[in-house]
Symmetry: C2
Subunit: 222 residues, 2 copies
């Protein structure tokens, strides 16, 4: 019983987990099937029984990541309705998604570097809708005067995507730049807070102190 049904998915998932960790840390070419199977505690052919090829394993890791992302994104877009709420939610939840497990950011970044052409259809499929929605929101905001008119929506979103993924992927390394030995957890919080600040400040127009622009409603989230 303990070996029949549950163990099957269990082992496959264990392989996936260790593969994800190792791929994220050392890259696809930097990890051998022997490395992975050793971590799992099985022999190499047993691993190949579950995933017939190293490349299928890579794809499986990536698919699980994207599946998780696709699971979280629509709810996110549904949940928050009003403009600035939606922006805030999408942005901070995206950060949270990658902050939850930095391997995700590292993995995506590596794939972006290693297999640019193969990533483009995936980008098209999984990132494009996101970008389109946010871009449209930004454009709407520009018309309404909430968003800085100089902002380039499409380019802005691309930069923020890179910033979120890049900052979290390299966080562990760039801790070296922190002057004092801050408790890491706190540093991460401070770091992501600054990220959100940069994103918002560079997008939204300052709250009109005197009342210059005919902004419709809440001109600027906290």
């Amino acid at each position: 019983m303990s070996t029949s049904r549950s163990a099957r998915a269990d082992i496959a998932q264990q392989i996936l987990d260790h593969a994800r960790r190792l791929f994220a840390a050392h890259g696809f070419d930097g990890v051998s099937l022997a490395d992975i199977s050793k971590r799992v505690g099985i022999r190499k052919p047993s691993l190949l029984y579950h995933y017939g090829t190293k490349d299928t394993l890579r794809q499986a890791v990536l698919e699980q990541l994207l599946a998780h992302w696709n699971d979280v994104l629509p709810k996110l877009l549904m949940a928050a309705t009003t403009g600035s709420e939606q922006f805030d939610a999408v942005l901070s939840k995206t950060v949270a998604f990658f902050a939850e497990d930095h391997d995700r950011a590292r993995l995506i970044l590596r794939e972006l570097l290693d297999r640019p052409t193969q990533m483009q259809p995936l980008i098209e499929l999984h990132v494009r809708p996101w970008v389109t929605i946010v871009s449209n929101y930004i454009r709407r905001g520009q018309e309404q005067g909430r968003v800085r008119f100089e902002a380039d929506p499409q380019s802005y979103v691309a930069h923020m995507t890179v910033l979120v993924i890049g900052s979290l992927a390299t966080f562990e390394t760039l801790v070296a730049l922190a002057p004092e030995h801050e408790p890491r957890e706190l540093l991460l919080e401070r770091h992501t807070a600054e990220l959100l600040r940069i994103a918002k400040t560079s997008l939204f127009r300052p709250r009109p102190a005197g009342g210059a622009s005919p902004a419709t409603d809440s001109p600027h989230p906290s």
Copy 2:
């Protein structure tokens, strides 16, 4: 004559160039010495004559990159004297440095991912001074009211570093997100312009319309 003095450095440099390109494109582990030597047009042992080890070749590529960077940075810091000029110069020249050859950004990013611990001393050596100077400039700007007081100098600089490197490293791939087939050269220009806009807007306080703070000189670059 044509083979004695000049060819020596020439071949070594050719090896370095092709290694840089290939490492940037496929990663250190994704490139074999055979690949590199084939590009150069020599045999593998000939390559190993110049660089005794694959790892020394990697280091040589990295060192040349950092040497170039160290060559460009001090001049940069010397040239521009006043605060906002200095910031503007440092930022845009840094962008230009990586935009000039995207392999530089890719290479740095890969090293950051692949060898975090070995990169930390290099960061300490080559990036820290830069960060310190800019951070101090930001703090000074905060005291003078030119810079947003909510900004976290150290974290801000880290984010901008990641943003510059990340955006240029992934530029070719993220072109896929551009809706129309813009002439690429123009798209790059638009992209870097937006990057600079984000960096400045999120840092500097809006030009005081009434005149609240006792800012010394030009409170805000174009």
